[in-house]
Each structure stands twice: as structure tokens, then as C-alpha cells.
């Protein structure tokens, strides 16, 4: 279980002080799909960075199974990201000189034949069996993002963090990507940040944020009741 308690993030952006996350508490259970929704500048990406350990909070604490991030060394937090988490960003951030298969292998814990086979299998499952040896510049936007998803899954992480994973894709491709991510819920949790509510229809929990604070938290039951009432 991943928990963030009274999280706060303040940072300097030029001359301005940005209060990006303000007193946010959130809990992510295993195999849960959490959506974080909000307009630009609402602090949703910052919250993702806090929960994933990419950023240290100014205040509050993050726990993974009762292990507090603040008590971990930098090395332990890095190892946590490598072993337990997977990431999908708005931009694919694939390494341009590596093929699709190699890009997936970048996140594998060991560069061995078993993981190579697993990378191939993942890409095949994602519909890229004929593009294993293509470089990123030879792939379409959706294909690149699918490679990035395979990269996030290769080491079977407990939690995948997805930051605007469909932000640069057309609607159809975006829905495909979300379906792929959602399918991962059987193996681990998924935390997806977006400003597009359409892609969170299957989320177990939707956290709406504005100005660094949580506005509402809705679970699927409540949401479905609301939709039925509407």
C-alpha cells in the first residue's frame, strides 16, 4: 500500500515561490487504478512525483508498506523506483539510438535472455511484434507510447505512474494506451495523472485537484451512482 500523508511541496520557479501541493493525503491500495484529475498547474503531476519519490516533499511523508521515504537514503529511493515502480510520461522519452526492444530492456533488472524474451513478448502483446528493431524515430506517436508502456512493465512493478500518458496522442490512440495501462491492474496498481476525464472511466478512485489541493475524491461506486442518478 502506498500512502501520502499531509504532503506539501513548495519550490522556487524563478522569482516566484510555487506552492505546488498543499496538505494532501492520499492512499493507494494494491491493484487499484487511481486517476488524478485537474487543470494545468493544479499540482497533479507534482503529487505524482512526490508519491513516486522523484521529488522530496517539503512537508508530510510518503510510505510504501509503512516504509517512510524520508528514512530511505537516495540510493534506496532510486532502487525503489527501479524495482517497485514503472513510469510512463507525457512524452515517450525513449532513447533515440536504441531500438524498441532495447528501449524496453533499459528498465529490465538484468540484461539476460529471459528478459529479452519478456520484452519481445510485451511488445508483441502491445501490437508491435513487427517493430521490435525499429528506432523511435521510425515509430508513430502511439507506437512510441506503447514502447514506453512496455518499458514501464518489463520489471513487473507494483505501481505504474503515468503522467498525462495520452497528452500528445489523438483520441483513438489515447484510448488504446489507457486500455493497455488499465489491463495492468491485474498485476499492480496504476496511478494516472490527466486533465482528460474520459480516460479515467475505469478508475477505482478519481482525485480531483485544484491549486495544489484535493477538491474531491470519488470512488467508482459513488461515481456510477452519480451517473445513474444523472
Amino acid at each position: 500500500m502506498l500512502q501520502g500523508e499531509n504532503l506539501r511541496l513548495v519550490y522556487q520557479d524563478g522569482d516566484a515561490t510555487v506552492d505546488a501541493v498543499h496538505d494532501v493525503t492520499v492512499t493507494v491500495a494494491d491493484h487499484q487504478f487511481i486517476g488524478i484529475l485537474g487543470p494545468s498547474g493544479s499540482g497533479k503531476s507534482s503529487l505524482l512525483y512526490l508519491l513516486s519519490g522523484l521529488r522530496k516533499p517539503t512537508g508530510g511523508e510518503v510510505y510504501l508498506d509503512d516504509r517512510a521515504y524520508s528514512r530511505m537514503s537516495d540510493r534506496e529511493r532510486v532502487a525503489l523506483r527501479r524495482r517497485e515502480f514503472g513510469f510512463v510520461f507525457q512524452q515517450h522519452f525513449l532513447i533515440n539510438y536504441l531500438t524498441a526492444q532495447e528501449n524496453v530492456m533499459v528498465a529490465a533488472p538484468v540484461q539476460d535472455k529471459a528478459h529479452t524474451a519478456q520484452a519481445r513478448a510485451l511488445l508483441t502483446d502491445l501490437g508491435l511484434s513487427d517493430k521490435l528493431h525499429r528506432f523511435p524515430y521510425e515509430l508513430s506517436g502511439g507506437e512510441r507510447q506503447r514502447v514506453a508502456i512496455a518499458r514501464a512493465m518489463i520489471h513487473r512493478p507494483r505501481i505504474i505512474f503515468a503522467d498525462e500518458p495520452t497528452g500528445l496522442l489523438d483520441r483513438h490512440t489515447g484510448l488504446q494506451v489507457i486500455a493497455l495501462l488499465r489491463a495492468y491492474r491485474d498485476q499492480g496498481s496504476l496511478i494516472a495523472v490527466t486533465h482528460n476525464p474520459e480516460i479515467l472511466s475505469e478508475a477505482d478512485l478519481i482525485i480531483k485537484m485544484r491549486d495544489g489541493q484535493i477538491v474531491t475524491i470519488e470512488d467508482r461506486v459513488a461515481r456510477q451512482s452519480k451517473e445513474a442518478a444523472a
Binding site: 503531476s45 512525483y49 522523484l54 521529488r55 537516495d74 540510493r75 532510486v78 532502487a79 525503489l80 523506483r81 527501479r82 524495482r83 515502480f85 513510469f87 510520461f89 512524452q91 522519452f93 532513447i95 533515440n96 539510438y97 536504441l98 531500438t99 524498441a100 526492444q101 532495447e102 528501449n103 530492456m105 533499459v106 528498465a107 540484461q111 535472455k113 529479452t116 521490435l132 528493431h133 525499429r134 528506432f135 524515430y137 521510425e138 518499458r151 503522467d163
Partner: protein, 789 residues
């Protein structure tokens, strides 16, 4: 400000401008210092010390006394003001770089001293001039400093067996001179009166020209007086000698300049290419709005030209400053002050900025030729051709098992790998070039000493060893046999690649002793026969015969028709009667020649026979005997040559040179480390996004630095391998192209020069790791992901 001017571009890209300027300046400083130090160590001191030849000339016969008719002929010339008798002995003055420079201590009669000092623009500033018949020495202040002598000190052979080998009896410094040129004046009568100096001192005349007629007298002496039997020392000849010495330096310097220039051009070219690729949109836009490709190429070249010239000028100014500091701190205190602002090294460093400008123009024209403004504006690619090349790349590409391995990175970045490996390899070769040359030469000359492996030699400089010493040696229990021998050097051996000719030893011994020595050395005749008693025959080693193109029956030592330009004239001609076979292992080769002692002794009018002792030890006693000879026999007036002390002398010379070359290597290693690590750093920083996302995915900074270090290790290792293979190829070419045809060879497996190939890659690796590690310590993965960095 003109927005399209080079100045505007670099005002807005100050870091890039500073980096390129600093890089070029550093390369110029490095090369200038290397050549400047070599020049001031090996060339300038020859001129500085012997510049007295601009005030007077010296004439002396190759042996004995000068023919009075020659002196009379010189004196009768209307351009000659005065002809004075002189004798002199030569010493070696160590300069600030540890290299010996030959210098004459000139013996003058008391009445002539003032005239010579006046003519030289020199005056006595302390003490007095040498008294007639006394062992006084008046020395210029700078020379006294260089020799670490003051008034009351003595110059004696025991202080420096090699440099002062001709100082048969001590000379006491009685006066200090100061003036335009450097002089060492002793009493003519003293040198003449001392038996020890008779075989060493050269006798002749000192010639002073009438004012304004110096050139004419120089011509007269060189063209009319000089002959195989009469040596002259003039200003013109000094300058010719300096020019030849410079030519030798250029032989070494030009390849060095080419290598460093090529390496720096590659580095700057790579940086410019990166900058060019980042400016594709700007260039495409400018082309789209109506600026021609020629205009764009000129603009890019002008931008680089400004920096290259600024870097060159800055480098020269810095180098001159450092040379001035070196002069003040090292050279001047040792009596070898020089002008740090001379332009001698300038032509060597000029190619660097010029090559960079030329290369930039070439690459700009080439890249802009393919430029398609629309493709750039639309896709950020140079041309539509780029798109067409990719399917081919795809057809070849296969996923590799280790995507994070250095080999994977460089298989996908062959151009970058080629630049880094090529430039590093060139720098490695540049840094070790001199050492390879020196070590191969040092290896090849080792057999010069081999004749001392079985025997040792005791000698009185220029005289026959006194009977008491002979008896003392003969009576020593470790002595097997004592052989009276006349030691001389009938031939010189040329040792490549740029070395001078080394005199090889010959023993004039009786037929009985010759047979004994031949057996002791394990020599056998390859052709001909050993010199017969009372014949003017000479047996020479095959190596010397090969080196000098000699065969059985050839005549050497002819005064009027020497076999070679540098062949010494001998008292009588000698005929090559036999050629001794080369040893199976070149390291065991013996370069000793033999002639008949009976012949020399039966021609006392020609051969001045001074007998030394060749001492053969009893079995297993060589070491003990040598130790005894060195401690008990060597001393005032007596020299002992053992394998140990001669080898130590060789090693000392080589170490001194190696030390100078280490300085050269250090300078090049610093230039290489900064330039190549800078380039590597730029390449790595181009990959910030990749590193940022790798960090986000869970690679620690240590792992990222480790990855970059492995990549640098790969390029540095590949460069080292390329340099070593290239170096090995050069050595093989040198061995079989230069050395073997000259009859000599060097040890291809000598590890010393190879050690000098290591500092450059090590420095590049260390500086790269440091710079990249520091940069990555500030890496903010989130900022990179968000596109804020």
C-alpha cells in the same frame, strides 16, 4: 548590433565562445611551450654560448700545430685586422634543461687578452685575468653561474668526468667577465706547459676582422682556409650548425604539429558540428528568407574564424607569458636567459587556427550543400535525404543484447566514436612520439658499451698511463691479463632516427693480445682477416661496415678524400682487412675494431701512441675488479671505463632527456585531457534527456556516471589500442626502414615508451569522469521530464 553578425551570435552564446577560444588557446599554449622548451634547451644554448664567434674566428689544424704558411696567408689578407696565437680545450656546459652544450676555454697570451676582450665587448668585472703560465680561468658571469663556480673555485675533471674530460689539471677561477658575448679565457702558456694538456689542447690562431669586414673574413676562412686538415670556427658556420640543429628539431616538431593540429581540428570540428545541428532551424529560416548557402557558409566560417584567431592570439600571449616565467624562474638563474618574446615557435602553432578555420569552411559548405530549408523548417532535419537513408539503417539494425553497454552506444554513434577515438589516438601518439624516438635510439646505441662487458679500461687522458699505475693494476689478484692498448676512434656509427654519429672504439694491440681479445669476446671473422702485425690494416665489426657501407679492401682515414663527410681523418690511412661477424643477438653485438699496435708504434711521426690498459679479469672477478679500479685507480689524471660506470652515464643522459620529454608529455596530456574531456562532456550533455529519464526509471547517479565512464573507457581504450597498433606499425617501419639498413636495431619490446602512451587516455578518463560526475550531481530528472532544464 547587427543581429546576423558573428559578434552578436557569440555575445548570446558566451559559454560556447569561451570554450572554443579556451580550447584553441590551450592547444596553442601546449604546442608553443613544447617547441619553445625544446628550442631553448637544445638549440638556443649552442648559439648563446658560442656567440663569441661573431667577434672573432678560430683556426686550427686537425692535429698538431698549424702550418705557419696558413697563419701567414690569413694575416696577409687586407680584411684581417689581427691574427693571434690561441690554444683551447673544450668543456661541456650543462644548460637549464640538463643538456650539455660544448664550449671552448680559449688560451691566450697575456699581451693579447685585452685585445680579445675589447673586440668581444667584454670586460673584467671581478678578480683578475689569468697570469701567464698559471692555471687561472676568467669566465663570463653567466657561465660561472651555469657551472656553479665563483672566484677561488676550481674546475676539475673529478667533478664531471664527461663534461670536463679535457680538464687534465684543475683550473682555478680568478676572474669574472661580463659583456656582449660569453668567454672563458685561460693562459696560453699554462696549457702549453702542462703535459696533460698537450694531447688534448688544440693549437691554432684567433682571427679578428677589420671593422665591417667580418663577413669577408668569414668567407675567406670558410672558402679558402678550411680544408680536411684545417678546421675553422666562424660565425657563419655556427649559424649553419644552428640551422642544421633546427632542421633536426623541425623533423620532430612537424609531425608533432601535424598530429596535435589534426586532433584539435577534429575536436573543434565535432563541437562546431553539434552547434551547427542545434542551429538547423535558424539556418533553414535564414535560407528560406533569402540568404544564400554561400552567405551562410561565410557566416559560420567567420564566426569560427573570429574565435580561432582570438584563441590563437590568446594562446601565443599566454605561452609567451609562461616562457617569460620559465626564463625568470629556471633558465636565467642557471645562466641561460633567453628572449621569451621571440617568434621562432610561431610558425609551428599558426596551423592550428588556420586548420580549424579551413575545416569549418569545408564542413559548412558540405553540410549546407545538402540543406533543404523546407525540410529543416518542417522536420528539423537537414534534408529530405535523411528520411531516405533511414530505411537502409533499419534494414541493418538488429536489437543488441545489452542496450546500456558502451559498445551499443558507439555502434549507433559511429561518427562520435570516430572523432573521440581518432583525436585521442592522435594525442597519444603526439605525447609519446619523442619517447619512442629516444628509446629506439637509446636501445640501438647500447652495443657501443659491449666491449666493456668482458674487460675494463684504465687510461691517462691523452697520455700513456704511468708505469706505477700499470704495475698496481697488474699486481691485483683479480686481474687475469693486462693489455697495453692504443685507444682511438677510426669511425663513427650513425644511429637513427635523427641522432648524431657516435664514435666507435678501436684497440691498437699486439697480434698476440688481439688473438686473446678476439677469443675472449667470442668474435669470429665474417670475411677477410685480422690485421697483420706492422700493417696498416683494420678489422671492423659487420655492424659498422654495414652502417658505413664499408667492405674488405676499403681505405679509411684519407684526409683529402674521407669515406664520409663526418669520417675522422687518421694519422695514416687504414685498410679494412677483415669484417667481424655480428652477434646472433643484436644486444650482444660488439662494435670494437682492431688494428696493429706494432704498426702505430713503428710510425711515431704519424701516430702518437698513448697506451692505456685493457684489463681482463679472472673468471667471476669482474665486478670486484671494476669496483677496485673505480675506487683506487680512477682519479686525478686517470680515467677508468667500466661497463657499470659507462652504462650509468648512458642512463643518466637518457634519464635527463626522458625527464624533459616527460615535461613535453605532461603539456600534451593536459591539452588532450582538457580538449577531449571537454568534447566528451559536450557529447554527454547532449544526452541530458536520456540521462534524466534513466534516472527517473531508477538508475542511480553512480550508475549513470559509471555508464559514462565505461563509454569513455571504451573510446579511450580503443584510442589507446589504435595508438599502440599505429605506434607498433611505426616502430616496425622504423626498424626495417631506418635501423636495419643502417646495421643497427632496437628492442621492439622495450616497455618504456609504451608506458608513455598511458597518461593521455588516463587523463582523458579522469577529467571526463570528474566533469560528467559533477554535471550529473546536479541532474534533476523531474526538470528534464518537464522540459524545464
Amino acid at each position: 548590433m547587427n543581429p546576423l553578425s558573428a559578434v552578436c551570435y557569440y555575445r548570446r552564446h558566451k559559454r560556447q565562445a569561451v570554450m572554443l577560444t579556451a580550447l584553441l588557446a590551450l592547444a596553442v599554449v601546449g604546442l608553443y611551450l613544447v617547441l619553445g622548451v625544446l628550442l631553448e634547451t637544445f638549440i638556443t644554448p649552442l648559439y648563446t654560448v658560442n656567440r663569441y664567434l661573431s667577434r672573432f674566428s678560430l683556426v686550427q689544424p686537425d692535429m698538431g700545430a698549424l702550418d705557419p704558411a696558413v697563419a701567414a696567408r690569413i694575416g696577409a689578407n687586407p680584411d684581417v685586422a689581427v691574427v693571434l696565437p690561441q690554444n683551447h680545450v673544450e668543456i661541456a656546459v650543462p644548460n637549464a634543461g640538463g643538456v650539455d652544450t660544448p664550449f671552448r676555454l680559449i688560451g691566450l697570451q697575456e699581451a693579447d687578452m685585452d685585445a680579445v676582450l675589447t673586440q668581444s665587448g667584454v670586460r673584467l668585472v671581478e678578480g683578475q685575468l689569468p697570469q701567464p703560465g698559471a692555471n687561472g680561468l676568467a669566465l663570463s658571469r653567466e657561465l660561472a653561474t651555469a657551472l656553479d663556480l665563483g672566484i677561488g673555485d676550481t674546475l676539475k675533471r673529478t667533478e664531471n668526468n664527461t663534461g670536463y674530460a679535457n680538464i687534465a689539471s684543475p683550473l682555478e677561477v680568478v676572474g669574472i667577465l661580463s659583456g656582449d658575448v660569453r668567454l672563458g679565457i685561460v693562459s696560453y702558456e699554462y696549457l702549453d706547459s702542462q703535459e696533460g694538456y698537450r694531447g688534448i689542447a688544440r693549437y691554432g690562431v684567433l682571427v679578428i676582422a677589420r671593422p665591417g669586414r667580418e663577413a669577408a673574413v668569414d668567407d675567406l676562412l670558410r672558402q679558402t682556409v678550411r680544408s680536411p686538415r684545417v678546421e675553422v670556427a666562424t660565425y657563419h658556420l655556427l649559424r649553419e650548425y644552428l640551422a642544421e640543429s633546427r632542421a633536426v628539431l623541425y623533423k620532430v616538431g612537424i609531425p608533432l604539429v601535424l598530429l596535435v593540429t589534426a586532433a584539435i581540428t577534429m575536436v573543434v570540428g565535432a563541437i562546431n558540428r553539434l552547434a551547427f545541428m542545434q542551429r538547423l532551424t535558424e539556418l533553414g529560416t535564414l535560407h528560406a528568407v533569402g540568404h544564400g548557402k554561400g552567405w551562410l557558409a561565410r557566416r559560420l566560417t567567420l564566426e569560427t574564424a573570429g574565435l580561432a584567431l582570438a584563441g590563437g592570439a590568446l594562446g601565443i600571449a599566454l605561452a609567451m607569458g609562461i616562457m617569460a616565467l620559465l626564463n625568470a624562474a629556471v633558465y636565467a638563474p642557471k645562466g641561460f636567459a633567453y628572449n621569451p618574446f621571440q617568434m621562432t615557435a610561431l610558425p609551428f602553432v599558426a596551423p592550428i587556427p588556420l586548420a580549424v578555420i579551413g575545416f569549418t569552411l569545408f564542413t559548412a559548405v558540405r553540410a549546407l550543400g545538402r540543406m533543404d530549408a523546407v525540410a529543416i523548417v518542417e522536420r528539423g532535419a537537414l534534408s529530405l535525404e535523411e528520411k531516405q537513408t533511414r530505411p537502409a539503417a533499419r534494414a541493418r539494425a538488429m536489437s543488441l543484447p545489452h542496450p546500456l553497454a558502451a559498445t551499443t552506444f558507439y555502434r549507433r554513434h559511429k561518427g562520435q566514436a570516430a572523432v573521440l577515438i581518432g583525436a585521442t589516438a592522435l594525442m597519444i601518439v603526439s605525447a609519446s612520439l619523442f619517447v619512442f624516438g629516444l628509446e629506439s635510439f637509446d636501445d640501438a646505441r647500447q652495443p657501443l658499451l659491449n666491449h666493456l662487458r668482458q674487460v675494463s679500461v684504465a687510461a691517462a687522458n691523452g697520455l700513456t698511463l704511468e708505469p706505477g699505475t700499470v704495475e698496481l693494476v697488474r699486481a691485483h689478484p683479480a686481474v687475469e691479463r693486462v693489455i697495453p692498448a692504443m685507444l682511438f676512434s677510426p669511425l663513427g656509427i650513425y644511429v637513427p632516427p635523427i641522432a648524431p654519429t657516435y664514435p666507435v672504439e678501436a684497440y691498437g694491440v699486439t697480434a698476440e693480445d688481439m688473438a686473446y681479445l678476439v677469443e675472449l669476446y667470442g668474435l669470429r671473422l665474417r670475411e677477410g682477416h685480422l690485421p697483420r702485425p706492422n700493417s696498416n690494416e683494420l678489422a671492423i665489426p659487420w655492424t659498422v661496415a654495414q652502417n658505413r657501407g664499408l667492405q674488405v679492401g676499403d681505405v679509411i682515414g684519407n684526409r683529402d678524400h674521407p669515406v664520409h663527410a663526418d669520417a675522422p681523418t687518421l694519422p695514416t690511412e687504414l685498410v679494412v682487412s677483415g669484417i667481424l661477424a655480428q652477434a646472433e643477438d643484436f644486444a650482444d653485438d660488439n662494435w670494437l675494431s682492431f688494428m696493429s699496435l706494432e704498426f702505430a708504434e713503428s710510425h711515431p711521426d704519424a701516430w702518437k701512441v698513448n697506451l692505456s690498459l685493457v684489463v681482463a679479469p679472472k673468471a667471476g672477478q669482474k665486478e670486484a675488479l671494476d669496483a677496485w679500479l673505480e675506487s683506487e685507480i680512477a682519479g686525478e689524471g686517470r680515467l677508468v671505463f667500466t661497463y657499470g660506470n659507462q652504462r650509468a652515464q648512458f642512463q643518466s643522459q637518457a634519464s635527463s632527456l626522458l625527464l624533459s620529454l616527460s615535461l613535453v608529455e605532461s603539456i600534451i596530456a593536459v591539452v588532450a585531457a582538457v580538449a577531449l574531456a571537454g568534447l566528451n562532456y559536450i557529447f554527454v550533455m547532449q544526452r541530458r534527456a536520456e540521462l534524466g529519464v534513466s534516472s527517473a526509471l531508477g538508475l542511480s547517479r553512480l550508475q549513470l556516471v559509471g555508464r559514462i565512464v565505461r563509454e569513455t573507457l571504451f573510446t579511450s581504450g580503443a584510442a589507446w589500442l589504435a595508438a599502440v597498433l599505429g605506434g607498433a606499425a611505426i616502430l616496425v617501419v622504423m626498424q626495417y626502414g631506418l635501423f636495419v639498413p643502417a646495421g643497427v636495431r632496437f628492442n621492439l619490446f622495450n616497455p618504456v615508451p609504451w608506458l608513455y602512451t598511458l597518461p593521455v587516455p588516463a587523463a582523458v578518463l579522469a577529467v571526463s569522469a570528474g566533469a560528467v560526475g559533477r554535471a550529473l550531481s546536479r541532474l534533476d530528472a523531474v526538470a528534464l521530464i518537464e522540459g524545464r532544464a
